[in-house]
Assembly symmetry: C2
């Protein structure tokens, strides 16, 4: 499928690119409204879907009952603060040893993994 560059898509992509942490659909909708770009929420969901399916976005769940998206970047994991909700990145570890062990022991062919850490960020420990 041939992706087109519409104002809504550009704004959504821009917001995602500039976000410091994975964002959910509502945050995008609120941002667009604050910019007087009154994009319909359906359009936001459809854009997230298309961008995700075309491999431009990564999608995560952090135990919140909703999805969060971020522009694809180097493999990394997330540190989710249980207190303030902030999400920080931590450089990706490929878990290669563990994955080959699983391949040997379970016969399972791993395509991807998802690793999140939960706890207290530096700021919230004080």
């Amino acid at each position: 499928m041939q992706l087109k560059n519409t104002p809504a898509r550009a704004a959504i992509s821009n917001f995602l690119i500039n976000s410091k942490e994975p964002v959910d659909a509502l945050q995008i909708i609120n941002f667009l409204h604050s910019k007087k770009l009154n994009t319909n929420k359906v359009t936001v969901y459809r854009n997230l879907d298309v961008l995700y399916k075309n491999g431009l976005l990564d999608r995560f769940e952090f135990g919140e009952g909703k999805f969060r998206y971020e522009f694809k970047k180097n493999h990394h994991h997330h540190l989710v603060c249980n207190k303030c909700g902030r999400v920080e990145d931590v450089a990706g570890e490929y878990l290669t040893d563990l994955e080959s062990k699983i391949r040997r022991q379970n016969g399972f062919l791993i395509k991807s993994h998802s690793l999140e850490f939960y706890g207290l960020c530096r700021r919230c420990q004080k």
Copy 2:
């Protein structure tokens, strides 16, 4: 809070204990209905909530947009098959080295982590 042993709670707990993989609310509701125990879905959700908050259940998300629960057992991770949807366990690795590295480098205090692998189970590779 003082937990009581009601028929609904017993049935839900039993189903969770006997399940080979984490289950969602709907699976529990369907099971109860199949047993002619027409427990209301609200009761199921409330039981999951109470059992989870009392530390009897673990709660996971596998990128499906809903929660799955399982009776608490030894620390382990999940192998989620992208084709048939089956979930298998893999013995827990504590990621201790990685966690202390994160503690040092990010100042983040880790309380828990969640690690899921996605790919193809042995059966679905054939």
